[in-house]
C-alpha cells in the first residue's frame, strides 16, 4: 500500500514537472516528453505490469492538465509500453539501440494514436502540420534525451555483467 502511495506520488510529481517546467523546453517545435521516456525505462528495466499500471495512472493526470478529455492518453501510453516490451523481449533486448529506437517510435506512435483519438472525438486536427512541426521534432528530441539517459545505463550494466562473469 505504501509502495502504491509512493508510486502515485512520484507519478504526480513527474506529471507536474512535465506539464510545468518541461513545457517550456522546446527545440525546433519539439517538446521533451519525460513521461514516455520514464515509461519505456520502466518497461525495459523494471516491470511490464508496473509500466502498464503507471500508464493508466499517469495518462488521466496528463489529460487533465492538458485540457484533453480524460482517458485519451491511456491508449497511447499503454501502446508505447507494449511496443517497448515486445521489441525488448523479442528482437533487441535491452542492449543495442532499442531503447532509443523505441523512444523515437513510441513518441511517434503515442502522438499518432492521440491524434486519431481526438479526430474520432470530432476534433479538427491538422495532421500534416502537427506531424511535421510537432510530432517528429518531439520524437527526435526524446530519442536524443533517451540516448543521453540510456547510454550510461547500458555501459554500466555491460561492465557489471563482465565483472560478474
Amino acid at each position: 500500500m505504501f509502495r502504491i502511495f509512493i508510486f502515485i506520488l512520484l507519478a504526480l510529481i513527474l506529471v507536474a514537472f512535465q506539464s510545468s517546467a518541461l513545457n517550456a523546453l522546446t527545440l525546433a517545435g519539439g517538446h521533451l516528453d519525460i513521461i514516455i521516456i520514464a515509461l519505456i525505462m520502466l518497461t525495459l528495466y523494471g516491470s511490464f505490469e508496473l509500466a502498464v499500471l503507471a500508464s493508466v495512472i499517469v495518462a488521466p493526470l496528463l489529460d487533465a492538465l492538458s485540457g484533453l478529455p480524460l482517458g485519451v492518453s491511456i491508449i497511447p501510453l499503454v501502446s508505447v509500453v507494449l511496443l517497448a516490451h515486445w521489441g525488448g523481449k523479442t528482437i533487441f533486448g535491452t542492449r543495442l539501440g532499442w531503447p532509443v529506437v523505441v523512444i523515437l517510435l513510441g513518441a511517434l506512435l503515442a502522438g499518432l494514436i492521440t491524434l486519431a483519438e481526438l479526430a474520432l472525438l470530432g476534433w479538427d486536427m491538422p495532421w500534416n502540420e502537427i506531424i511535421l512541426r510537432s510530432l517528429l521534432p518531439s520524437a527526435l528530441l526524446n530519442a536524443i534525451a533517451g540516448l543521453a539517459i540510456y547510454l550510461p545505463i547500458v555501459v554500466f550494466s555491460e561492465r557489471r555483467e563482465t565483472h560478474l562473469q
Partner: protein, 301 residues
C-alpha cells in the same frame, strides 16, 4: 513458494494479451464518462492534487529562466561594457590628441604674434619654429634639443626665444637637430640690462640655482621686480628680448659691482616650441633705447 510464483507468472502471461483490449475498453469508458460530464469531480481532484507541485515547478522554471536571462543579460552588458570602454579609450586618445593640437595651436599663435611684434628682425626664410624633442642627460646643463638642424638653416650661436622671452642660443648644430644652451646653463653669459634704469650687466647661469646678473654698476639703482632685457652688446642677441625679472639684489659697499638674482620669464620645464632667430639687426651702443620685445607677465616669485 516457488510453485505459487510460477503460477502467478503463468497467470500474468495469460493476462498479457488481454491488457490492450482491457485498457482500450477502460479508456473508452473513461472518455465517454468524461464527455458525458461524469468525470468533472475527478478532473477537479487531479487539478487540486497537481496544483502545488505544478506551482513549485513553474516557479522553479521561472527562477531558472530568470537566471538564464540574467546570465545572457550579463554577457550582453559585459560586451556592451567592453564596447563602451573601447569607445571611451578611443575618445580619450582622440581628446588628448585634440587637446595637444589645441595647445600646439595656441603656442604657434603666440609665437606668430611674437614674431609679428618684431618687425625689426629680418628672419631669414621667416621664423623657424622648432619643437623640443628631448632633454639632455646632464643634471647640470639641461640643454634642449630641437628638431631643426643645419638642413633647416640653423647655425651655431643663433638666439632662441619663445613668446615669453629668451631661451638661449644654439650651440651644437646637427644635420636635422640642434642643441640649445639655456640661459640657466653655467656656460651661458648674455649681455643684459634692466629695462627701467638701463643698468648693464651680464646674465650668467648657475648649477642648480637661478641665474644671476653680474657686473651691475653700483651707482645705478636696481630693485626687485625690475625686468631684465638683452642689451644687444656683443651682437649675439638682438636688443630688447626679455630675459627675466630681478628677484633678489646683492649689494655690498665693499664690492665694485652689484649682483641680482634673476627669475627667467621662460618656464624651461614646460617649453615645447621655440623660435630660432636666424637674422637680426646688430644693435650699436649708441642706438636709442628700445622697448622690450615681448611683454610677458611678471613671473611669480
Amino acid at each position: 513458494m516457488r510453485r505459487t510464483f510460477q503460477i502467478r507468472i503463468m497467470q500474468r502471461s495469460r493476462l498479457r494479451p488481454l491488457i490492450l483490449p482491457l485498457v482500450m475498453l477502460g479508456a473508452i469508458a473513461i472518455i465517454g464518462l468524461d464527455l458525458a460530464g461524469y468525470m468533472d469531480p475527478a478532473n477537479d481532484i487531479i487539478h487540486t492534487a497537481l496544483k502545488p507541485p505544478a506551482i513549485l515547478f513553474t516557479e522553479a522554471k521561472g527562477m531558472v529562466a530568470s537566471g538564464v536571462d540574467a546570465m545572457r543579460e550579463m554577457r550582453t552588458l559585459r560586451e556592451r561594457n567592453a564596447e563602451l570602454e573601447d569607445l571611451a579609450n578611443r575618445l580619450t586618445v582622440e581628446n588628448l590628441r585634440l587637446a595637444e593640437v589645441e595647445t600646439e595651436n595656441e603656442q604657434l599663435r603666440s609665437l606668430l604674434n611674437f614674431a609679428q611684434t618684431v618687425p625689426a628682425f629680418s628672419f631669414r626664410g621667416g621664423q623657424i619654429i622648432a619643437r623640443v624633442i628631448g632633454g639632455g642627460a646632464s643634471p647640470f646643463t639641461h640643454p634642449i634639443q630641437i628638431d631643426l638642424g643645419e638642413q633647416h638653416g640653423v647655425k651655431q650661436g643663433m638666439p632662441v626665444v619663445t613668446d615669453r622671452g629668451l631661451v638661449g642660443r644654439i650651440f651644437h648644430v646637427y644635420p636635422r637637430s640642434s642643441d640649445i644652451m639655456l640661459i640657466t646653463d653655467p656656460r651661458s653669459s648674455v649681455n643684459v640690462m634692466t629695462q627701467g634704469s638701463r643698468a648693464p650687466g651680464i646674465l650668467r647661469g648657475r648649477v642648480g640655482q637661478l641665474p644671476v646678473m653680474e657686473l651691475i654698476p653700483p651707482e645705478i639703482e636696481i630693485s626687485v621686480g625690475d625686468i631684465i632685457i638683452t642689451s644687444g652688446l656683443g651682437g649675439h642677441f638682438p636688443k630688447g628680448l626679455v630675459a627675466g625679472q630681478i628677484v633678489d639684489v646683492e649689494k655690498n659697499d665693499n664690492l665694485m659691482f652689484q649682483t641680482a638674482v634673476i627669475q627667467p620669464t621662460v618656464d624651461f620645464d614646460r617649453i615645447e616650441l621655440v623660435l630660432v632667430i636666424t637674422s637680426f639687426p646688430i644693435e650699436m651702443e649708441s642706438q636709442p633705447e628700445t622697448e622690450p620685445i615681448s611683454a610677458p607677465e611678471a613671473p611669480s616669485q
